[in-house]
């Protein structure tokens, strides 16, 4: 265990397993902020009285839960859309810089829900996953000050891993139930109908190598179904983490879903990479010392067990 003490630069004990979940809100914050910046020039076309969508059709897109912000936007000055987006952006930046995380997460959770969950017109898969990430940020994203909160964060990490396992498992199960992912047709069709902005276009003549698409399709199904294997140990965890990230890089480049891919890559890193990194000490200029002492004592006591877990 690397615990250093110096007069000028005090160092706390190593981060404990679960502390890395504090990184989750930072990544979510920056990714949601980038997405909002991209949506910014078109906000008045997506929401509000000058939207491309007629008011009388809105009720068909209301999820039936919560407050639909669009109904408010339609009745007020168009400026309110940008005020809301500004609040959204400020919350994102607070998350990124680790400021007032519980409050920022809660505010962002509510605004995100109002813009994308209650109003389904402009929502897609990434928004649902971002909403879940915000909930976990609200529950586990804060800096733990007591031993009890450390334990809570450790549990949080396992729950976060379980959440991802369910996401991928049901993704894989859904694919496995149809024939098209087994014969390569689905993956072929997916890469051939990209969203705007994709970097890699797969030429049509690549379809003359069907075996490649069969292998890729089956690999995706097996990877998603077997995602829970990451719990079995270091080797499995590394393989699952690397292949899943590779899959998301592929989705970003060929289908053009950059926001979705970046979010999922970050989620995977927070679940399977950062918590298992080699422990290092870090400066505690702004953190309370009693926490460090407590942390050091608890870490030393259970070091052999924790070391084994982290491998």
């Amino acid at each position: 265990m690397n615990i250093r003490h110096s007069r000028n630069t005090p160092y706390t004990a190593a981060r404990t397993f679960g502390d890395e979940l504090q990184l989750l809100p930072r990544g979510i914050g920056i990714l949601l902020w980038i997405e909002m910046l991209q949506l910014w020039p078109d906000l008045s076309l997506l929401y509000g009285p000058h939207s491309i969508y007629d008011t009388e059709l809105l009720r068909y897109w209301h999820s039936g839960s919560g407050w639909n912000w669009e109904e408010l936007f339609r009745r007020t000055h168009p400026l309110w859309i940008h005020v809301t987006a500004t609040l959204y952006s400020i919350s994102c930046l607070c998350l990124f810089f680790g400021r007032w995380i519980p409050y920022s997460s809660l505010l962002l959770l509510l605004i995100h829900h109002g813009l994308f969950m209650a109003d389904l017109r402009w929502a897609y898969g990434a928004d649902y996953l971002a909403q879940t990430g915000l909930l976990f940020s609200l529950l586990f994203g804060h800096r733990p000050q007591t031993d009890s909160l450390h334990k809570w964060q450790q549990k949080g990490l396992y729950f976060w891993q379980a959440q991802l396992v369910l996401v991928y498992f049901f993704g894989g199960l859904g694919k496995a139930l149809g024939p098209t992912w087994w014969n390569g047709e689905a993956i072929w069709k997916a890469v051939q109908q990209p969203f705007p902005g994709n970097l890699l276009d797969i030429p049509l003549h690549w379809g003359s190598w069907p075996m490649c698409w069969v292998i890729i399709g089956i690999s995706v199904v097996l990877l998603e179904l077997g995602y829970a294997l990451a719990w079995l140990g270091t080797t499995y965890r590394r393989i699952i983490c690397i292949t899943t990230i590779a899959m998301h890089v592929g989705i970003a480049l060929t289908i053009g879903l950059y926001h979705f891919s970046a979010l999922m890559i970050w989620y995977n890193l927070c679940a399977w990479y950062y918590p298992y990194r080699t422990q290092t000490s870090y400066p505690i200029h702004k953190s309370s010392l009693e926490h460090a002492v407590f942390d050091a004592a608890s870490t030393v006591k259970t070091a052999p067990v924790q070391y084994k877990e982290r491998r």
């Binding site: 491309i52 009890s148 996401v167 992912w181 969203f195 379809g207």
Partner: protein, 196 residues
Amino acid sequence: MLQRIGSIGLVLHLGLVFLHNICNMQLPSTNVKSAVDPIIHSLQQLHTQPGLRHYAQLAGIHGCYGFYSPQVGSVYSSRIEVHCARTANVLRLSYPGLRSTASKIRYCTLLEALEGWRSEDDRTTAPALARATAKSLYNHVQRQYPDREIRLRIYSIRIPSLYELRSKKQTNKMITPIYEHPTQQKHPLYSSTYFW
């Protein structure tokens, strides 16, 4: 104590994820369906309880995680033509004024969410919400160009399957106009080479 309650809450949260995915899953064969139908029905009743439904939406777990499953759906695109009678110029738009890629992706998912643009009973007519959406898009462009003639078309893009490519039955993307506003007319099929 609080932690114990929190842990139980999170276990219930994961249970709800499980429930939503089981209930929204598309089972392949009718035999399997009929066998598990009573279970699915009772689970569906449970997951539509107002409290659970609201929580699921707040947590973002109300949807099914089956992205692109069990198969990849059709893709749709729009084209808006703005005709100027005075200069005989035609302005062609693929998106109704949207500029950023992020907005265009969301627009594409809106077109895909409209359940195929063709009703199950009558393959020549678009479902009411799809028609109303097309009208809404048309109205928006009309407001921007009040003195121009506008024509909105929705296209379905058909990707040749691996089998069709191998057997040379279809070697190009087939782009079919499936809806037009203000008037619906018969159109020839377009090939992707001169559509884009």
